[in-house]
Amino acid sequence: MGKENSSLILSTSPHIKSRESVRNIMISVIITLLPAVVFSIYQFGIHVLIMYLVSIATCLVSEWVAVRLRKRPFSLYDGSAIITGMLLVMVLPPKFPIYGVILGAVVSIVIGKQIFGGLGYNIFNPALIGRAFLAATYPVFISSWATPRLVFDGITAATPLAGMKFDGIMTPYSAMFFGRIGGSIGETSAVLLIIGAIYLIIKKYIKWRIPLSIFVTVAVLGEIFHLINPSKYPDPLFHLLAGGLMIGALYMATDMVTSPITNRGCIFFGVGIGCLVVVIRLLGGLPEGVMYAILFMNAFVPLINRGTKPRIFGTGEAHEH
């Protein structure tokens, strides 16, 4: 043949690979978040835009420094730090101070992710670690709301959940669905979050069982409470549209790294989150519980995975015939 044989590559099968890549997944998530991000900038103004830019920049720099210190190959291109930066701002109130954003972003990346070993190894959702830290550090700022540009007439409550919990005011569903309400920066428009998530579900970048089981659990539990005392407890639709449930169920509970890998596990995980959300909202001291519900269930993911191993082909009862 006269060919230089040493040029042949000797890696093992399979010799063809799908086009999926971590980077494509991350970019898709970023793109599907953009409608909600743009809407939030319109609703709450230039300060929010600055928050996004500062948060993303801080996440990227923190990632770079942490990876350098850990002497690992640099992986900014995977895009995961950008998602963390975006999500962190999306779950903060609109007037949150910039220095707080910087602090939250550093904590998200360093404590939330790099300490565990970086991409793929973290147990908790990094953005929620950042937010939890800020909630503990700045309890006043974290519950200081702003009135958005587009708002349903006559709403006086800061957020639908606060209105429900502390003042007994109910916000109309249409306002909640389209986002003409107060709340954290990126959580207010259910419709924009749902549109983005549908794309991700079609691409299979979201484990659909997680949001579905969260929604069903919240709806069922919400209905039970509502039936017991309709004047005190809101109906299920309110629960689904209010607060951080949409962004939490669609974009944070579904974070690949911190959710179960088994199909049954995803359902347990979602049911757990749904129960905790309703319990915290209705029986706890806080108006909203999505963040703690997800973080709490994140901790159980290894256990859930272990407990929900699928039946291996040719084992158990199914092979008897």
Partner: protein, 441 residues
């Protein structure tokens, strides 16, 4: 509508169009054949000829007394130049017989037994399968006479003839089904009789409807059932095929015969037919040469021992910079270090892929996307297994069912982090086996 399928699996680009329409041609006999004495799973053969001697086509040149083994025959008449170790497609060097063809075409075949099923005895045919050196031609190369000798307490109800050819690119089985459906059916009936099977099922993936049609046309009331299975990799894996066709699951650690089934490839059926009817030992096979790195992809009937380079030459040579030379298909085939490796009984394809960036790319950590979990046809947790393998937790891997992995590579195929999952699992399996062997001592 199509219910003949299994859970999991992937849909890689099939790329069968390269070689699909090329009729099977006879590959030129090269100046020298290198016939390895290891061409099957089981005991290797010892040489039955000496360097310097002459052989006739079909003469036994390698043999073993072990039951799980298959004799090896001279693919051509000629002179035995030497017997020494040479590179084998599996990567190591094995004892091989170098034959220089003399062009005399002298044959020493076995005695034809006829082609009337009713007049053929099961024992004669089984003996013939053994004498002819037939092994599973789908790639597993397990000696067929062993497979056709199930223990008395495991009667075989169903023989499935596997015409799925689920590996992308490969079209050898497809061409065989189009060009020799009658011989395949006859071979299937012979195997069916050897096994005493009550039913014979021929399974073809539904991306080959013309092959399916050809079978039905050639059948003429022989009582064989033909099924079209869903086109999905690894549909041709025998466990998946049995599940799809019969809804039976081969138990973990078991064999198809544990559920009363034997699966044979269409190529094997043809080889059985030729051995019984014509007395022809297994000295050649049909294979596909394909990929974007070959000028004229095609299908050839090649003598065992033909160097890959000779078939490449006959196909117009390579195109562009070749990144990988693969013996077998792209999902489970083996990358080669040399163009000199010979065609062996298990060689279903020669795949030449042009150099592309992805072949040399590294991998990222597992991001728990669970794509691999969704596609694993045996419902393992491949990502978990790969992480355990990196941590060298062999015993835990056993609990996670590492031995049930069929090494189809679907997990590595879909992994967005490009992790070598199946490679890690293969390595781990060997480790687990080692540990078990040591414990049993």
């Amino acid at each position: 509508m199509n219910l003949f399928t299994f859970k999991g699996g992937v849909h890689p680009p099939y790329r069968k169009e390269h070689a699909k329409d090329s009729q099977i041609e006879i590959a030129a006999v090269p100046d020298q054949l290198v016939v390895p004495l290891v061409q099957h799973i089981g005991a290797p053969c010892a040489p039955a000829v000496e360097a310097g001697g002459t052989v006739k086509e079909g003469q036994v040149i390698g043999q073993s007394d072990a039951f799980v083994s298959a004799p090896i025959h001279a693919p051509v008449s000629g002179k035995v130049k030497r017997i020494e170790r040479a590179l084998h497609p599996l990567g190591q060097k094995v004892l091989s017989v170098f034959i220089e063809p003399d062009g005399a075409d002298e044959k020493e075949y076995l005695k034809p037994l006829g082609d009337t099923i009713d007049q053929l005895s099961s024992d004669d045919m089984k003996k013939r399968v053994m004498e002819a050196g037939i092994v599973g031609l789908g790639g597993a190369t397990f000696p067929s006479h062993v497979k056709f000798s199930p223990p008395k307490d495991k009667p075989i109800e169903v023989l499935i003839i596997n015409g799925c050819e689920c590996e992308p690119y490969l079209t050898a089985d497809y061409r065989l089904m189009l060009e020799k459906p009658g011989d395949i059916i006859l071979g299937a009936q012979m195997i069916g009789k050897i096994l005493g099977a009550k039913e014979i099922v021929v399974a073809v993936e539904d991306n080959k409807p013309d092959a399916f049609k050809k079978f039905k046309e050639s059948d003429a009331g022989k009582g064989i059932r033909y099924v079209l299975t869903h086109t999905k990799y690894p549909q041709g894996g025998e466990k998946m095929l049995i599940k799809a066709v019969l809804k039976r699951e081969v138990p973990s650690g078991g064999l198809p015969m544990d559920v009363g089934v034997v699966v044979s490839n269409v190529g094997t059926a043809l080889a059985v037919c030729e051995a019984v009817r014509d007395g022809k030992p297994l000295i050649d096979r049909v294979l596909t040469i394909t990929g974007n790195g070959i000028k004229k992809p095609g299908n050839y009937i090649a003598k065992i021992g033909t160097p890959v380079s000779s078939i490449i030459e006959q196909s117009g040579g390579t195109v562009g910079t070749i990144g990988k030379l693969i013996v077998g298909g792209p999902m489970m085939g083996i990358a080669q270090s040399s163009y000199d490796v010979p065609v062996i009984k298990g060689t279903s394809g020669i795949l030449l892929l042009q150099d592309e960036k992805y072949m040399k790319e590294g991998h990222l950590p597992c991001i728990k996307c669970s794509f691999c979990v969704q596609v694993c046809p045996t419902q393992l947790l491949p990502s978990r297994l790969s992480i355990l393998a990196e941590a060298e937790k062999w015993e835990l891997m056993e609990q996670f069912g590492v031995d049930d992995c069929i090494e189809c590579g679907s997990c590595s195929y879909v992994c967005p982090s490009k992790r070598p999952i199946v490679q890690l699992i293969k390595t781990a399996k060997l480790k687990v086996r080692d540990i078990k062997a040591r414990e049993n001592k």
